[in-house]
């Protein structure tokens, strides 16, 4: 059965098709995916963006570091001098951590796009985490990675890789976890008795394996044709489809790193290897740091920033991995969070939930770098500012930026805005708005 026929059949019956593997099976390998790669890093917990990339300073009590010390690059990107917060004065570790971030920004702000004043319209962690990567806060919404995987390469056996963060798929794609490279090698060659040690030692020859696969497929066809319960049919689809690309997993082995780096960098190595093998389209990563700082927010944000922006294992290291893999010219990297934090400090010197957040965008699409700068913005009270309805630059309209606008922009960049997968996972905002929110250089 050809992939398109199968998908069409499933569509006609109103069932979800789990894309993510080739339907051509052993006989016709899908062409390796060579399109763009998408990585989202989730700063789970809701970060205080006024201590990061939407700085306000102490002028009206929003922050404790001096407003006058806020740093701004020539492209308008600003960042918080959190290391100057008096709360950090006796905590050298926190100061050092804040400086890790500040130094990164000093070196890299010219390459980043910052979208400020995104109104996530929620104070709920679950909803915010969903909304920030789906553009739709409803339960079971599809994350961008799932939509991209389904739209760009439904035959990729591990199209959507997740190391954390919201990874709902709405049935569009299967989620793949990755981990120990030795285990992955074993799984890439399930018929090999000893993984890669001895390629000749297999349980069965390729032709015998094909006999088993053929019997399995014939049985599936018969059982599937006789089954009508939607839930069972969907489950049968899922298993069938997950298997058809299993031979392609072998390609991954050649790209696996010999030694894994720690943290985000290591996860990026694995995901990057899957992409290089033509198997992956998108990946979700967890920042690894906590951001739900209801208490001692300045100190805690500083520590989390130190982790996220660590040169050895954090966001910068992940960017270096992409460069080393020579895929930085077609990888879009975003950093999102559930929401922001309240404008004022609470009794515990922390900040509570606040719908307005920011997003960091880096990387390139189709060889063209993201146009750096600032889109959107927030008031001194950290309320979202109205933006131009096309560009997202503050002023000139009544529209405020919502996560759905961002998702629409990313889908447009990825070339999947009008795809069937995107239509099956609608966002909540008009896609004709903010069409230039994320631009290329």
């Amino acid at each position: 059965m050809e992939r398109r026929d199968f998908i069409k059949l499933c569509s006609l019956t109103g069932l979800t098709v789990v894309a993510g593997v080739s339907l051509d099976g052993d006989t016709a390998e899908a062409a390796p995916y060579e399109g763009n790669f998408f990585i989202n890093i989730a700063a789970n917990g809701g970060w205080d963006v006024t201590s990061i990339v939407d700085p306000k300073g102490n002028a009206n009590g929003m922050n404790k570091y001096p407003t006058a010390a806020i740093q701004t690059a020539s492209n308008g990107v600003s960042w918080a001098p959190l290391s100057l917060s008096p709360d950090l004065a006796n905590n050298q570790n926190a100061i050092d951590s804040a400086l890790v971030f500040e130094n990164f920004m000093a070196d890299n702000a010219s390459k980043l796009l910052i979208i400020n004043g995104i109104d996530n319209q929620t104070n709920s962690h679950d909803v915010g985490q969903r909304a920030s990567v789906t553009g739709n806060g409803a339960e079971n919404s599809a994350a961008f990675g799932a939509v991209a995987s389904a739209a760009l390469n439904p035959s990729a056996p591990m199209g959507f890789i997740s190391f954390g963060g919201y990874s709902g798929t709405a049935g569009l794609a299967a989620v793949t976890r990755m981990g120990n490279t030795e285990v992955i090698k074993r799984l890439a060659y399930p018929y090999r008795r000893y993984a890669t040690d001895n390629e000749e030692e297999t349980y069965y020859s390729d032709s015998q394996a094909a006999v088993i696969a053929k019997a399995r497929e014939d049985r599936f066809k018969g059982k599937y044709a006789g089954q009508r319960l939607p839930r069972v049919r969907t489950a049968m689809n899922t298993l069938y489809l997950s298997r058809l690309g299993q031979n392609e997993l072998k390609k991954l082995v050649a790209f696996l790193p010999s030694e894994l780096l720690p943290g985000l960098a290591g996860a990026t190595q694995l995901a990057g290897a899957a992409y290089k093998a033509g198997l992956a389209v998108a990946c979700n990563l967890d920042s690894g740091a906590g951001w739900d700082h209801h208490g001692d927010v300045d100190t805690n944000v500083a520590n989390s920033l130190g982790q996220l922006f660590s040169a050895t294992e954090g966001f910068p290291a992940a960017l270096n991995v992409l460069a080393d893999l020579d895929i930085d010219d077609k990888t879009l990297v975003t950093v999102t969070s559930d929401f922001g934090r309240t404008p004022m400090y609470n009794d515990g010197n922390g900040k509570d939930h606040w719908p307005v957040t920011s997003m960091i965008v880096a990387g390139a699409i189709n060889g063209k770098a993201i146009k750096p700068g600032v889109k959107g913005g927030s008031s001194d009270g950290h309320e979202p500012l109205a933006v131009d309805s096309a560009t997202g630059v503050v002023g000139g309209g009544e529209l405020t930026i919502k996560p759905a606008h961002v998702q629409n922009a990313m889908r447009r960049l990825a070339g999947i805005l009008e795809s069937d997968a995107a239509k099956m996972a609608p966002t909540t905002e008009d896609a004709t708005k903010l069409v230039d929110l994320i631009e290329l250089s």
Binding site: G14, G20, V21, Q121, T122, N123, S124, H125, D126, V127, E139, P157, M158, A174, V175, T176, R177, M178, G179, N180, V183, I184, L187, P190, Y191, R193, E201, Y203, Y204, S205, Q208, V211, I212, A215, R216, R219, F220, G222, G226, R228, L229, P230, R231, V232, A235, M236, T238, L239, S242, R243, Q246, E248, L249, H294, G295, G348, W354, P355, G381, E383
Partner: protein, 805 residues
């Protein structure tokens, strides 16, 4: 609802045994006449359904925002539960009936439900003032008309009670033998014994009832139950983490905790023997790990203990005791717990911290130090996380769903205590915060991060919403033990039964209950019907559960007998429109790593280990470089806390490798035994080839091979097939093709004549006895061992094996 309860009793039970649901028994079709189909009955719209539709189309838009249940001190008696709470329709219907049945004063009096939203004022005939102002401009408003229709419907006697046919027409369900097999696999992670099969064949549903009683006493079900609760509670985090997180309380009010008690035990040869240890170091290691096990698992073991021992399931939140094993008892300095075997780490008994005379405020798992530590509080979180977990797990109330509606940003919103006074915050917080206050007595101290410390005099935050439970304020007398008061409230809450049914359904099927559709959904009507159908069945079961004294096993039995467990297909000619109503029917659940382990061990008698040896740890229980637990979608309760339920390419290859490795282990183990000792391959041996040297079929051999294939289909896949069935022939052809190619490859020198070394099982897998090394066979010169291994791999990787369907 009482009427529905009686109907359910009639429907599901007869004379104390499970009836074959006479209304369902029409139209027996399928293999062995073990399929039931053709649910019959009225399909008219009941009052309950009419109310449900009105709830989503009228009440939610016009009433629910102000009349939301939850806040303590609300003056209106008209309070509606949100759809995020399990059982909301039953409870709201009772509320609305009461309001609709109340008539305003005067000759022109009208239903309060119709008078209030017009806000005509007290002086107008039939009118009454409405604090929320005018909702409808006139009686001609379409919304008002719908309200009028609802009031009229509510005032009439029920002429059309709900039936399953209204929602589930056209489905086919497992009959007695199919239900028995599925229940054995799901509840017991095992196959039916020959005796049980015979009993069900002879006794039908009555025998199924007895079987369920047996299965619900077996450990496998409780392992599964605890896994499902741990998916939410995540207390297994402390199986690997330092349980020293619980500190002895310096004020002497804590449990007097010493998890390292075993360090002070003097070396004792009797203890080495008693604990089955190899050495004193090994014995100490066992004492340490068993202590940690008992401490970490106290919450979920309590749930298992309550269910298994037929205690009211409400004990999980209201029990004035905890459970300990012999080793955690030592850690908690509990000396009055009685064990049947004080060297068994899996024996958990009731105990109280500080002994039975103590005043530690036990409240089921809610007062367990580990659960409290796993769900910590902070000076600003103020126990809200704990309250959220209780709402979800105990009441089936996903409070975060109430937060799905967009909130708007307004700097002024933050003024004057927004969680109480700002509607956008209070939509959740008015349910959450009163509950959070009941955990006031379990706080961290100023000196450490200990989360369980019992602080009876802790001063709660005055700016928080008044402590209480869905409109009932906690009395001042409970200020020193608020969690116990909460336990009592939860135990008598209508939502408790629904929450338990939801968790049981998740345990049995791996699926979440259907959620009400989102307003504006493209398929709203179909989704609503699907939701209402499942809601209707679960309501019946929840009501029976409550009225029957919260017996968990009885409730599970009803779930097993329901269409939501037994459905396996639909009639071939079912209306496609009806299919859209059946999205919540059936199970089709990809096995978790734990379930796959149990199935392999109980169905085959083997573990999937690195080298096929039984004593080694299961590969699906391990991570790192050794195992597949996380890659296979499992959780570690630490960093991976959400299961992946749909197989990816990687997961499919885990299954593939399992099939190959376990498949050849099973075949080797089988052929290590005499035919009469074997479990699966009883008609063949390694010398039975389907064709002779000239390529001619050997009829007797073919028959023997097919007989065993037929048996494998029944045992492993639950298919009772004739030996001439195409599926048997397909599997046979697989055997022949693999065998032919294998023999050719052997002849060509491409492969050797021996079974792979890792396939060899060096012990009698039935008796457990070790074989002498020189008696472990390896020669497979006719390639039949490997051909059978291929058959086994084919079956162990089949949908029917790796899914519960």
């Amino acid at each position: 609802m009482r009427r529905l309860f009686r109907l359910a009793k009639t429907h599901l039970w007869t004379s104390g045994t499970l009836a074959a649901t006479a209304a369902l028994a029409a139209g027996l079709v399928g293999c062995g006449n073990d399929t039931e189909g053709g649910i019959e009955g009225s399909t008219c719209v009941s009052t309950e359904e009419a109310f449900a539709v009105a709830s989503f189309k009228v009440l939610s838009d016009n009433c629910a925002e102000c009349h939301a249940e939850g806040s303590v001190g609300s003056v209106s008696e008209f309070r509606l539960l949100p759809s995020s709470q399990a059982g909301f329709l039953d409870i709201n219907l009772a509320t609305v009936r009461k309001v609709a049945g109340t008539v305003t004063g005067g000759e022109d009096g009208k239903s309060m439900l119709l008078a209030k939203p017009l806000n005509l004022g007290d002086g107008v005939p039939g009118g009454i003032a409405h604090e929320g102002g005018k909702i409808f401009d006139s009686e001609d408003d379409p919304g008002y008309k719908e309200l009028e229709a609802l009031v009229a419907k509510l005032s009439e006697p029920e002429s059309c009670p709900n039936t399953e046919a209204r929602f589930l027409a056209g489905i086919e369900m497992e009959g007695p033998s199919g239900t028995a097999r599925k229940a054995a696999l799901v509840l017991g992670a095992r196959l039916l014994t020959d005796e049980e099969i015979a009993a069900v064949d002879a006794g039908g549903w009555g025998a199924v009832d007895s079987l369920l009683n047996t299965l619900l006493q077996e450990d496998a079900f409780y392992a599964r139950l605890m896994e499902k609760y741990n998916d939410v509670m995540l207390t297994d985090f402390y199986l690997a983490e330092d349980v020293d997180v619980i500190q002895g309380d310096e004020d002497g009010e804590g449990p007097g905790y010493n998890p390292m008690w075993w360090e002070n035990v003097s070396e004792d040869p009797d203890l080495i023997k008693k604990y089955g240890a190899q050495s004193w170091d090994d014995a100490r290691e066992k004492m340490a790990s068993w202590t940690q096990y008992g401490i970490a698992r106290a919450s979920i073991e309590l749930i298992s203990y309550v269910a298994k021992n037929d205690k009211p399931f409400t004990d999980i939140v209201s029990a004035n005791y905890m459970v300990v094993n012999p080793f955690s008892a030592r850690a908690y300095n509990i000396t009055d717990a009685k064990f049947a075997n004080d060297s068994d780490p899996n024996e958990f008994v009731e105990a109280r911290l500080g002994g039975y005379e103590s005043d530690y405020p036990h409240a089921g798992f809610m007062s367990d130090p580990i659960w409290l530590n796993r769900h910590p509080t902070t000076p600003t979180n103020r126990n809200r996380h704990r309250a959220k977990e209780i709402l979800y797990m105990v009441l089936g109330n996903d409070i975060l769903k109430a937060a799905e509606r967009p909130v708007s940003v307004d700097a002024n919103n933050l003024a004057d205590n927004p969680t109480v006074n700002n509607d956008q915050c209070s939509v959740c917080h008015k349910q959450l915060d009163p509950l959070a206050g009941t955990f006031r007595n379990f706080q961290n101290t100023d000196n450490d991060d200990t989360q369980h410390t019992f602080r009876p005099d802790f001063e709660w935050f005055p700016e928080m919403a008044q402590t209480g439970f869905f409109g009932t304020a906690m009395p001042a007398s409970s200020k020193t033990n608020g969690t116990q008061w909460l336990g009592g409230q939860l135990a008598k809450s209508p939502g408790f039964a629904y929450g338990a049914v939801f968790m049981a359904y998740r345990t049995l099927t791996g699926n979440d209950p259907l959620q009400p559709p989102t307003k504006g959904s493209e398929n709203f009507d179909a989704e609503l019907t699907a939701f209402l159908g499942q809601y209707y069945t679960f309501s019946l079961i929840a009501n029976n559960f409550r009225d029957g004294g919260y017996n968990f096993k009885s409730m599970v039995k009803e779930l097993v007998m329901s269409p939501y467990f037994r459905a396996k297909n639909t009639a071939a000619d079912i209306d496609p429109g009806q299919l859209k109503h059946l999205t919540g029917v059936g199970t089709a659940h990809f096995l978790t790593p734990e379930q796959m382990n149990r199935k392999l061990e109980n169905v085959l008698g083997l573990r999937w280990t690195e080298d096929g040896q039984y004593g080694r740890a299961n590969l699906l229980n391990q991570n790192g470089s050794q195992g597949y637990q996380i890659l296979f979608g499992g959780i570690d309760s630490v960093s991976n806390t959400v299961r992946v339920k749909e197989p990816s390419g990687i997961m499919a290859n885990v299954v593939e490798r399992m099939g190959l490795e376990v498949g050849c282990n099973v075949v080797h183990a089988e052929f290590s035994l005499l035919p009469e000792q074997r479990k699966l391959l009883k008609s063949v041996d390694l010398t039975i080839e389907p064709a002779d040297a000239n390529g001619y079929e050997v009829p007797d051999a073919v028959a023997a091979i097919k007989t065993d294939i037929q048996f494998l289909h029944q045992k492993l896949l639950g298919e009772r097939l004739q030996v001439t069935d195409p599926e048997v022939n397909r599997t046979y052809q697989l055997f022949v093709d693999v065998w032919n190619q294998g023999k050719a490859d052997m002849a060509g020198g491409l492969v050797g004549s021996q079974m792979p070394g890792e396939c060899r099982v060096g012990y009698n897998y039935v008796s457990g006895a070790q074989f002498p090394a020189d008696q472990v066979w390896s020669e497979d010169g006719l390639y039949t061992g490997r051909a059978w291994s291929a058959v086994m791999a084919y079956m162990l990787t089949d949908f029917a094996f790796v899914y519960e369907q």
